[in-house]
């Protein structure tokens, strides 16, 4: 159990910046998710915490000590890898026992500890199998078991669900959440899947190009994205973003006009709103434009327009019918709108 702090951590390879001034305080027992597209530096950050990658600049504190120069084995962390990293020549039981063996935990405790871990990841029926004889989900559970067996201070999970099929991903995700709440161990979890981030995290760190874009609770980053990158990355579908001009509280874009916005600022702005917040109307609306496409999602239908350069989608009930090319109107109250500066992408204070 420990607090994990990253103080202005940088990673550079020559002139290439992998992680840029990463500064974060992770509380004891917190479940923190690092979220971002591939190559954004999230895995590098995690590998620096693990000690698999050197820190170019800055300090990593684990509990009350700086761990920058400690070997991975001396950091008292455990890690789950995307490709499992199991020992193919050892049985499930021996895989989970491996950390105890190399860390010289007294032999007579091994069996009890291993069995407890095996119980937690529900692998009792597969104890004597080799990793090659297991399915992907079972292998990842072995990796989880190996991570929890010796009760480390911090868990690191590097895209543990990426190699699993969609159905298994959901059940394993629930299992991870459950394990973490039982064990109460500080956890850092890396993923590029925003749904995983939303469902698992206490707090989410959204990263792009080596920089932190926003830190907050899942609700926070969903409701109040700090910039257009976060807005377009979080949510499914992502937030609609339309470029236009704001003057005297009126936003005017191609095929869209929203009134009643804060009058404080003016200029080129990007207007954002979520597909599920707006609604299709028969009468006049803020959007009035020919429909680009209609898709049936199952529980709802998705209407899409092409406004300016961007596609804008709104969810409506599944019985809604219209032909492509028909003019369709939608109501977009000012209250659901987010405003971003077009040039910088940053949120405009409202």
């Amino acid at each position: 159990m420990a607090r994990l702090q990253l103080k202005n951590v940088n990673k550079r390879w020559g002139s290439f910046v992998g992680v840029d001034n990463f500064d974060l305080d992770i509380a004891d027992q917190e479940f923190l998710v690092l979220l971002g597209p591939s190559g954004c530096g999230k895995s590098t950050t995690m590998r620096m915490i693990a000690g698999l990658e050197d820190v170019t600049d800055g300090e990593i504190w684990l509990g009350d000590r700086v761990v920058n120069n400690l070997e991975p084995k001396d950091r008292d962390i455990s890690m789950v890898f995307q490709s499992y990293g199991l020992y193919p020549n050892l049985s499930v039981y021996e895989n989970i026992r491996f950390p105890l063996r190399v860390r010289k935990v007294p032999k007579e405790q091994h069996h009890e500890m291993v069995m407890k871990a095996i119980d937690m990841v529900e692998l009792n029926d597969f104890m004597d199998r080799r990793p090659a004889e297991l399915s992907g989900g079972q292998r990842q559970r072995v990796a989880l078991g190996r991570a929890i067996v010796r009760k480390p201070t911090v868990f690191l999970m590097d895209e543990p669900l990426s190699n699993l099929d969609a159905k298994l991903r959901v059940s394993t995700r629930a299992q991870i959440k459950n394990l973490q709440s039982k064990l109460k161990t500080t956890t850092v979890y890396v993923t590029h899947d925003q749904i995983e981030a939303m469902t698992l995290a206490d707090r989410v760190v959204v990263m792009n190009k080596g920089k932190i874009q926003q830190v907050g609770t899942p609700t926070d980053i969903y409701d109040n994205p700090a910039n257009t990158f976060v807005a377009s990355f979080i949510g499914s579908p992502a937030m609609n973003l339309v470029e236009g001009r704001l003057e005297n509280g009126v936003f005017q874009g191609d095929g869209i006009r929203v009134e009643g916005l804060p009058a404080g600022s003016s200029g080129n702005v990007t207007l954002g709103f979520r597909a599920e917040d707006a609604e299709i109307v028969d009468g006049a609306g803020e959007i009035s434009a020919p429909m680009y496409s209609i898709e049936l999602l199952g529980e709802a239908s998705m209407i899409t327009w092409r406004l300016g350069g961007s596609l804008v989608s709104i969810k409506t009930n599944k019985e809604y019918r219209a032909e492509i090319g028909d003019t369709v109107n939608a109501r977009i109250p000012a209250g659901i709108c987010h405003l971003f500066d077009t040039a910088s992408g940053e949120r405009i204070a409202q």
């Binding site: 698999l52 991975p72 084995k73 990293g85 190399v102 860390r103």
Partner: protein, 293 residues
């Protein structure tokens, strides 16, 4: 196997069976011929009158009262002390394999795991040196070895053989290590291993087929080497291959050629045993894939 695949015309089956049998005979014939002949005397095996004599052995029968004789073996092993050559070969081969595998696994692992660009050029350089004819290297060694007074000893030969062999073992083990995911090392290190422990406890157990296969190739190189051993070893330190060659070179003495034949057969037997023994690892090593996590 589907039924369709099994349905081959009988003529094709017959043809391929005949071909395989023919190939087997062609492949095995020289060995079988030599083995059969090793129990004859020179007059039969190298008969100028009739090649059938090598099979029936009339001269052997006249000289020894039976169609087979152990004369060749007796002469080679006891009179000419072939056992000494076997012992020398054993020493040379053992140390060559052990040293080049030790250096090869450590070096191959380091090269496979270091992301630096020089790795490629190091391996290319190694390949160039491996491609050179051995004799070009050995002729250069001779003078310094004489001057340092280390010519003729087994350790000198072992070092030279290791040097010649190393590029190959390095290449081969390097590619085996590359096929093992890096996650395995990292998992081991996070689990509490030092770099070296990760190598020893997590990587090497997975690497066995690769190590065995590479070891076999080193073994064969050292075992079959003629250039290096014949030029660098004294008469009494000679290994099997130069020794056999020396039997062949002394045709003036009747019967000595048969020592060579008997010695050749003696030299082949261990190879059969070895291949049979390690057959499984070699196959899985050659087909790789076996090291997939």
């Amino acid at each position: 196997m589907s039924n369709l695949a099994n349905k081959k015309p009988p003529s094709l089956v017959a043809l391929s069976t005949v071909f395989v049998l023919f190939w087997l005979v062609v492949a095995a014939f020289p060995f079988l011929w030599t083995m059969w002949g090793s129990f004859k005397v020179e007059g039969d095996f190298f008969s100028r009158a009739d090649w059938m004599n090598a099979i029936t052995g009339p001269v052997t029968e006249r000289q020894h009262g039976g169609p087979f004789t152990l004369d060749g073996y007796r002469g080679a092993w006891i009179e000419q002390e072939f056992w000494r050559a076997v012992l020398n070969t054993g020493i040379v081969v053992f140390f060559t394999v052990v040293i080049s595998l030790t250096l090869g696994t450590l070096g191959g692992y380091a090269l496979a795991r270091s992301g630096f660009k020089y790795t490629f050029w190091l391996l290319m350089a190694a390949l160039v040196f491996r491609a050179m004819p051995h004799v070009t290297l050995v002729s250069g060694y001779l003078l310094p070895f004489f001057q340092m007074n280390i010519w003729g000893y087994l350790p000198t030969t072992i070092i030279v053989l290791v040097a010649i062999n190393q590029p190959f073992t390095l290449w081969m083990l390097h590619s085996f290590f590359l096929s093992i995911p890096k996650d395995l090392d990292e998992a081991a290190m996070v689990d509490g291993c030092t770099r070296f422990q990760a190598f020893r406890l997590a990587i090497i157990p997975v690497m066995w087929p690769g190590v065995v296969t590479t070891g076999l190739f080193s073994f064969l190189l050292a075992y079959n080497d003629f250039t290096v051993t014949s030029m660098l070893l004294t008469q009494e330190n000679a290994t099997m291959i130069p020794k056999i060659n020396s039997f062949l070179g002394s045709t003036q003495e009747e019967g000595k050629v048969m020592y060579a034949v008997a010695a050749v057969v003696s030299a082949i037997v261990p190879l059969f045993v070895l291949i049979l023994f390690f057959q499984r690892q070699i196959v899985s090593g050659l087909t790789a894939g076996a090291v997939k996590g």
